[in-house]
Symmetry: C2
Subunit: 264 residues, 2 copies
């Protein structure tokens, strides 16, 4: 009896939740809800949407950190900066101890292939890994009619798995989830970052003074042809899980370059 009394409850993990769509994005509420079932959650997210912010951080401007209420209840903190700023502010100022896990998302729109490098959702998770925290990024493959139900369920499942197994150093898992009902999900695949990329276009318009302004535009061109690659797999309704590293060295190129024998 005494022994049983002394037995400690396993400590619930502390989980930091971030995103790049901003604190009002639907996906972060779904993700925070899922994480609350397995841990103690702190939400720290950009005050405004920051898609396409990659690993950008704010250097020349101070940041504001504010409390954000949802239905009159404290929900989390906003930071007037990028997703990476959120992780830095959370780690060095808001949290009293490093979290056990950082989860970022759930993003509107897939972060497969070349979007891995543009994504603020992935950026936030990578910043977690850089700071030594097990970190995950989640994205749903749509910008409209988003249903986060299954994505949130899968996020919880993957979070539990990595809390148990850990991850290689400097590496996050970036997961892309098809926006279809659970019954239509084909399975889960471990994938590489695909080679699909954007066909760029710049649209020119004119303001009321006749001066031109420009919108960056483009279309993602599918350049992948195997289920080993995230963009191809997610289009076949597979959930993809890609290990993404902050070591960007092309190690395979080192040998050839050394043969150049560059002199000063």
């Amino acid at each position: 009896m005494r022994e049983e009394l002394n037995k400690e409850e396993p400590r619930k993990p502390n989980i930091l939740v971030c995103n790049d769509d901003g604190i009002q994005g639907e996906g972060i509420h779904a993700l925070a809800g899922a994480m609350k079932k397995i841990g103690n959650v702190t939400v720290v997210a950009p005050a405004e949407p920051h898609s396409g912010m990659s690993h950008a951080m704010t250097l020349g401007t101070p940041l504001r950190i504010k409390k954000f209420l949802k239905n009159g209840q404290f929900f989390g903190y906003t930071v007037s900066g990028t997703p990476v700023d959120c992780i830095k502010a959370a780690m060095s100022h808001i949290l009293t101890a490093p979290p056990d896990l950082i989860v970022s998302g759930i993003n509107y729109g897939s972060n497969t292939a070349i979007n891995t490098i543009y994504s603020g959702t992935v950026g936030a998770a990578l910043e977690g890994a850089i700071q030594g925290i097990t970190s995950l990024a989640f994205s749903l493959t749509t910008y409209e009619n988003a249903d986060f139900t299954y994505a949130a369920k899968f996020a919880r499942k993957l979070a539990k798995k990595v809390l148990a197994e850990g991850l290689p150093p400097d590496t996050i898992l970036s997961s892309n989830i098809p926006n279809v009902p659970e019954s239509e999900i084909a399975g889960v695949l471990i994938t590489e970052q695909g080679r699909s990329r954007w066909e760029e276009a710049t649209i020119e318009r004119h303001d009321m003074f006749g001066n031109p302004y420009y919108w960056l535009s483009g279309k993602l061109r599918l350049l992948d042809e195997s289920l080993e690659q995230d963009e191809f797999a997610v289009r076949q309704n597979y959930v993809t899980v890609t290990p993404v590293s902050c070591d960007m060295t092309n190690h395979g190129a080192l040998g050839t370059l050394k043969q150049w024998k560059l002199k000063k």
Copy 2:
């Protein structure tokens, strides 16, 4: 005689020059000057400084493209966005044909180790590689008392080499150059992205209304101990040349993750 008349001059390469410190940054003028000795140069740079912008691009705001004069002469174009925006705008709107080479920099401050991922200078060059163009990034290891003389000379040398040899797909070379006289340069080393990273801090201050605001701050901690790593090597006065790829997959982790046998 006739044959000699018909012999074409070898075509001068077309070189796009960008940076992240903005068109007024001293380093881009040194770099453009060096490139003009070997090719036809077009400068497209951010209108304002964009350090720490990584691979960020502008999605929700239109861009302005303007001509920039230097001493009353046309010098190049400014874009009211990030370094990556500059490359996208140049490639899809400003240039009439893809360039033979993109060079980015010369940056104030080294872009070794983890700074590779934060750097807008590297971001611009990587965007070039993503679009299939041979691309280079150059950084000088100082923020003050910068002398770009040797760095510009080395940039020209490396540019000529890669124009002759080419680079592996999706890979740039990111070169860091010590801010010392040429006579003190120890040599040139092909390096990996080091593991040195920032010890984070957030500085809290209060505005005139008593409300707090925050500055991200920190100190780069040396975690490298070999001349194979860029941050260590550059501190020993070596010029470093690191091949940086836009494939961020941790290929070594794929096998272990597949053994997890994740289910939907």
